[in-house]
Symmetry: C2
């Protein structure tokens, strides 16, 4: 089994550039602690915590915590954007975001009880509305950030703020590919489909790795079948019976190379561009805080691409980091000791 | 039955000064609209609305909407404070707030469905922590704002941010009284008790009007009885059987003059300093949005004090404005047409 390498350079000099994460809809993650959440009543918030968030920001934070050179970029706006930057500074995560007008969204998580043991309730704002001229300028500035960074790997994660469409994502992935960087795309089913179509229409190469989870793969199949991702269609297709093979085949037809399908606590299946699929899982799923587990897996994929690690190692590392993230209460954190311990427990099939 | 007049001036020149509202823990009221709130799940926020809030701000907005000269003051902090000011500017409400470090609290209301017909879920942040030296400076600046405004009536409403205690409220009420203004105090049971004790200890006159609602009166009695306002004690005493007379007598002993006890949809009882109690109510309670109803009643009390209206008129006006506020989805708004219509339906007893 070959390793991933970076685009067009299966052998060659060691890549020293950073992993650059692009978070177009970054967030200020706000956590409210309340005694108990009861819909329809009033609550005194006992504690307010704020933290830089968004999927790509979490990926960057996990990589930084593992000693992988990283640069977090994307779009920020207003006072919430200023606080995202301040938090990244405090955590030592290198960043270079582009400003847009408005206000970066807040993603509110309400946790219950002193230990935060209850289920978390999430309320996610849509994000700032980015107008056409701001979008064009921001795209130019982001492309310049990528060029300056000389990235080994570029990761584009998460949703888009209102007003931006997937053409922006396709353009950034194309710029990254032209710079010789490996590319990872982690967006929802409909957005993934549109981005791949955009790359295809532009004659640009597909991403080196895409990482849908099972519900996203199901949504993608539903959208491809019906041309719409109405919720009912997506819910029907999230049935376990969804043919993972059909989804992977669709992604391949659209230009994706390696496809990683994550299944939450059940582990993941890595479908390499150059070989048979590999599954990696823990003997039993962990309980904890699943938010950020997918981002930790993406961090492992990016680190593996950068190091040119064998696919089996990449898959095992992704499961270990994802599980380690479940053990931490906030997204964007893993304990290296947890990763090392869990890594030894990962069961690989197909390697 | 006499009217309220202003302190020491039962007859005299018409008072032309404004009503000054003091909101020490002003808020940025944020409303999230979601399809349906389910604790323990994730939600896409469909709409985010922001508005200047806090009880005294709502009082000022209602008075401004009725053409009563008003000045909103209190404490604001940070970016949320800047947005409170911007919203007051947009609504034309005169204001002069004092800045403190930190960040004004957000009070989040989650409403469900397109019509917002479901019960609202409120999540109230505690507010910025005000340190001793900032508190002293802010108090001086607020006293200067009061002196400059030459107020006819000063209304102090709502909670205190962490770090401020009731001595600040007592001091501001004392300054207001020295300026010849009538004073209205609308705070929770425990805070009301402490403020009255602070005025008493300082040898300062008690407020002209205090407006506990029934649960606040019950909390106050529980605190006075046990020396603590633990929730269980307060809940026990919110029983309808609470002796309103005992609460009013306690408030009088502590220096309060006219006491208005509001009972939500059941109306209110006004215990004038100079006569027998009056009850005012609608034939049947209205359903709608009770948030801000108490503030609309306080606005009516302040307007009545300023105009020297007879107590019976003041009580009827308070019920009409409070009910009109229930008909509006946001606090700090009443439709004058609703007020006029409802005013004609108010049933008065004891007048």
């Amino acid at each position: 089994m070959s390793g991933p390498g970076t685009r067009g350079r299966v052998t060659g000099p060691v890549v020293t550039g950073p992993v650059v994460t692009v978070t177009l809809n970054a967030a200020l993650d706000v956590t409210y602690r309340v005694a108990r959440l009861r819909a329809g009543t009033s609550h005194r918030v006992e504690e307010v915590l704020e933290r830089a968030g968004g999927k790509g920001v979490n990926v960057a934070a996990v990589l930084h915590g593992s000693g992988v050179p990283v640069l977090a970029t994307g779009l920020l706006a207003g006072e919430a954007g200023r606080r995202v930057r301040a938090d990244l500074d405090a955590r030592g995560v290198p960043h270079r975001f582009v400003d847009v007008p408005g206000e970066t969204r807040r993603t509110l998580t309400v946790v219950e009880g002193a230990g935060g043991t209850g289920d978390a309730t999430a309320l996610n704002e849509p994000g700032p509305v980015v107008g056409p001229s701001d979008a064009a300028r921001a795209l130019d500035e982001l492309a310049a950030v990528l060029r300056d960074a000389r990235p080994a790997v570029v990761v584009v994660s998460g949703s888009l703020p209102p007003g931006l469409d997937e053409a922006v994502v396709a353009r950034l992935l194309d710029v990254a590919a032209q710079l010789g960087a490996a590319t990872v795309l982690d967006t929802g089913g409909r957005s993934l489909l549109r981005t791949l179509e955009g790359l295809h229409d532009a004659g640009a190469p597909g991403p080196d790795v895409v990482k849908p989870n099972r519900p996203e793969l199901a949504e993608l199949l539903a959208v491809a079948r019906t041309g719409s991702s109405d919720e009912q269609g997506a819910e029907e297709a999230t049935d376990e019976s969804v043919a993972e093979g059909a989804g992977v085949a669709l992604l391949r037809r659209l230009g994706a190379r390696t496809v990683v399908v994550s299944s939450g606590g059940a582990g993941l299946t890595l479908h390499p561009v150059d070989g048979p699929p590999l599954t990696a899982r823990l003997p039993q799923p962990l309980t904890g805080h699943p938010t950020g587990a997918g981002d930790a897996a993406v961090a492992a994929l990016a680190a593996g691409l950068r190091a040119g690690a064998p696919w089996a190692d990449v898959a095992a590392d992704a499961v270990a980091r994802s599980a380690a993230a479940v053990l931490r209460p906030v997204a964007g954190e893993v304990d290296p000791a947890d990763v090392a311990r869990l890594r030894g427990q990962v069961v690989l099939d197909g390697a």
